[in-house]
């Protein structure tokens, strides 16, 4: 497949105004993005956000309603799937049950008329640590092994882009962590562009160089995992990627290097560089682990801001304790306190003060009339279809 790439200086994958409608439902809405060659890119979103449809359009299994899929300079949006230098690791693995592992892995090579496949297949099987499994049938393998066969079957073709459709969704937690590291290792080793679709934010953050958070067919935010996490662009992202305490506030324009806001009668400020918006209705956001708990307001260090409340719940989760702090106006803030042994646990019912460094807060746009969003967003059940 190298012959295809000679006129494309960069084998970047670009989606240009890609749209897919099913009847009146718009699954993917005017999507444009560039995925640099050799990167590990994650499309993150809840079920039905259009991420799998996007992937299927890149693979050619779904025809776009409009828009382009460009690989280098070449528009492949109208090519049949078997003519594209793109391979997929399917969520269901879709291994051929009538072929043994060797023939499953060799399938793509054989279809392209390559006769001597033995060495390549053996090398690929050892890359995914399945040496000696060649003569078995897929049904004789465990879920994790089948997943690795699916990966080997796609990788052996040296595609320009490898698409992964929730490939770890069917595995249990421990195996999933192991495979995440494995996938990352293989991607670094082969240097192929990986486009990974997942609803698991932790998976996206551990593995990808770049994460695009999708919602309702559009990309809400795109960037490095740390950048998105530390400074989300929208309330949706703030709560989909990790969780956030978002307080409904009003901002009245920047003053000096800061944007002063009022929220529930209290006055706070956020550095200009941490504000997506500087006037009108805003959300004042702080991540739970950026909040610290002390017994009274005079223990709050200088330069920090705080709210007072009552501890209503304390969940001990080993590495940290997760508190809920009910504020004077009734919202419950999440506070994660690392169990470093520095402070004793706070019993439920105690008066406490949560404080934060204003440089850790952020301001996001808010629809007028929307209230605080502080309830933790629960993770989707593992393996949910998308």
């Amino acid at each position: 497949m190298t012959a295809m790439g000679h006129d494309a200086p960069a084998g970047d994958l670009r989606l240009a105004n890609l749209t897919k409608r099913f009847g009146i439902f718009t699954a993917v809405d005017d999507l444009s993005l560039t995925i640099p060659q050799g990167s590990f890119f994650a499309l993150l979103g809840a079920s039905g956000c259009g991420k799998t449809t996007t992937l299927r359009m890149i693979a050619g299994l779904e025809a776009p309603t409009s828009g382009q899929v460009l690989l280098g300079d070449r528009d492949i949006a109208r090519l049949r799937p078997y003519k594209r230098p793109v391979n997929t690791v399917f969520q269901s693995y879709a291994l051929f049950p009538h072929l043994d592992i060797f023939e499953n892995v060799a399938f793509g090579l054989r279809r392209r008329g390559i006769r001597k496949v033995g060495d390549q297949v053996e090398r690929m099987l050892s890359l995914v640590q399945l040496d000696g499994y060649g003569r078995r049938r897929p049904a004789q393998l465990s879920g994790g092994q089948q997943q690795r066969v699916a990966l080997a079957r796609a990788l052996i073709n040296h595609p320009q882009v490898l698409l992964l459709d929730e490939p770890l969704g069917a595995l249990d937690l421990k195996l999933r962590r192991q495979m995440q590291i494995e996938l990352k290792r293989i991607q670094t080793e082969v240097g192929i562009t990986f486009v990974h679709v997942t609803h698991d934010q932790e998976e996206a953050m551990t593995m990808a160089d770049t994460v695009a958070v999708m919602n309702a067919g559009r990309i809400e935010q795109l960037g490095a995992p740390a950048d998105i996490y530390e400074f989300p662009a929208t309330a949706f992202v703030a709560n989909f990627l990790g969780q956030s305490n978002l307080l409904a506030a009003e901002a009245a324009g920047p003053a000096g290097g800061e944007v002063p806001v009022t929220a529930h009668g209290g006055r706070y400020s956020v550095p200009v560089g941490r504000s997506r918006i500087d006037h009108g209705p805003v959300y004042l956001g702080v991540r739970p682990e950026k909040l610290h708990l002390v017994g009274s307001a005079d223990q709050v260090p200088a330069g920090h801001q705080h709210v007072t409340g009552v501890v209503t719940d304390a969940s001990y989760v080993g590495v940290s304790t997760q508190y809920l702090l009910r504020t004077g106006w009734g919202s419950e803030l999440s506070v994660f306190v690392a169990n470093s042994g520095a402070a004793g646990p706070l019993p439920v019912g105690t008066q406490a003060v949560a404080y934060w460094d204003p440089r850790h807060a952020f301001l996001l746009p808010r629809e007028p009339g929307q209230d605080d969003r502080t309830t933790p967003v629960l993770d989707e059940p593992v393996g949910a279809a998308s």
Binding site: Y82, N87, T88, P97, F107, G108, R111, R153, N157
Partner: protein, 303 residues
């Protein structure tokens, strides 16, 4: 919660080992076998032995004078000598009908299984519906359809595919068409069952791995439908090659198959030794064809 709550409590009771089952039930499986085995013995094994004996009777005997078991193995070569054209014709017609049925039945089964959506059950009923009427009635209906003044013959004469005196009835074409029609459901149903289980995502995977639709069919769909295809062809071919109704009603003695000869040997000419010998020859020929075919098709799911 106290730590004690997590101690498994059910471990004190060891599971009863299967070998220690009470002796009263040891013979139960054999008892359950008994009705079926007795049925098969009385109505299959015994008649088969009787038929084998009949095939070795002295050919000069008759119903009136009685038969003597003289171990007349010569009955076999004699029967084959006399009726080898009908033998070949049986397998030829059944084979041609099978090819026609495959050409129609595979796409039909595929369409019903993979593309019919909510029409699936209705279409399946349509495939089976003709079976609600008797085999004879259906074949007689074909006699009307193919008759010399029917619209099909008229149409074929008009487009000059048939000469002005050309006919369909009483030709090999009519017999093969009749066989095809009558046994088509036996081919379609097992094939449908196989194709219905085919996961379309495997076809997506094949096309993702550079297989054109035709290649995907040959490398994925066809091998995965093999159990149904083998079962269907056997269910079609075996009764079709032994059939005599279609040749009788739609053909002439020139189209007679081996079934017609056996029929007349037992019921018209009353030559029991010859009829029995021909029956065994047909059975042996079909078994040979089936085993040869299964060996070639190489599916372990059928046998």
């Amino acid at each position: 919660m106290s730590a004690l709550a997590h101690v498994p409590t059910g471990s004190g009771q060891p599971a009863t080992p299967p070998a220690a089952r009470s002796g009263r039930y040891r013979f139960l499986p054999y008892l359950l076998l008994l009705p079926g085995a007795a049925w098969l013995f009385l109505f299959f094994a015994l008649p088969l032995v009787q038929l084998a004996a009949a095939s070795l009777y002295d050919p000069s005997g008759s119903l009136a004078t009685g038969y003597a078991l003289t171990w007349a193995f010569g009955n076999y070569p004699d029967a084959l000598q006399a009726y080898w054209p009908q033998f070949t014709r049986s397998f030829l017609y059944a084979g041609m009908a099978l090819v026609l049925a495959l050409l129609m039945g595979y796409p039909l089964a595929y369409a019903i299984a993979q593309k019919a959506g909510r029409w699936k059950n209705l279409l399946l009923v349509c495939v089976v519906a003709p079976m609600f009427t008797s085999f004879l009635v259906r074949t007689l209906a074909w006699k009307t359809i193919l008759s010399d003044n029917g619209w099909i013959v008229g149409l074929l004469r008009d487009v000059h595919l048939l000469g002005p005196d050309g006919r369909l009835l009483a030709t090999p074409v009519a017999v093969v068409l009749g066989l095809t029609y009558n046994f088509l459901p036996f081919l379609v149903l097992p094939l449908y069952a196989s194709l219905e289980r085919l996961d379309y995502r495997l076809l997506e995977a094949a096309s993702d791995l550079y297989a054109s639709p035709l290649r995907a069919f040959r490398k994925v769909t066809l091998p995965l439908s093999m159990p149904g295809l083998v079962a269907g062809t056997l269910l079609f071919f075996i009764p079709a090659s032994g059939d005599y109704i279609n040749a009788e009603l739609l053909g002439t003695p020139k189209e007679y198959m081996i079934g017609n000869v056996i029929d007349s040997a037992f019921l018209v000419r009353l030559d029991y030794p010859q009829g029995a010998a021909l029956s065994f020859l047909l059975m042996a020929a079909i078994l040979a064809v089936v085993f040869g075919y299964l060996r070639k098709a190489g599916t372990d799911e059928v046998l």
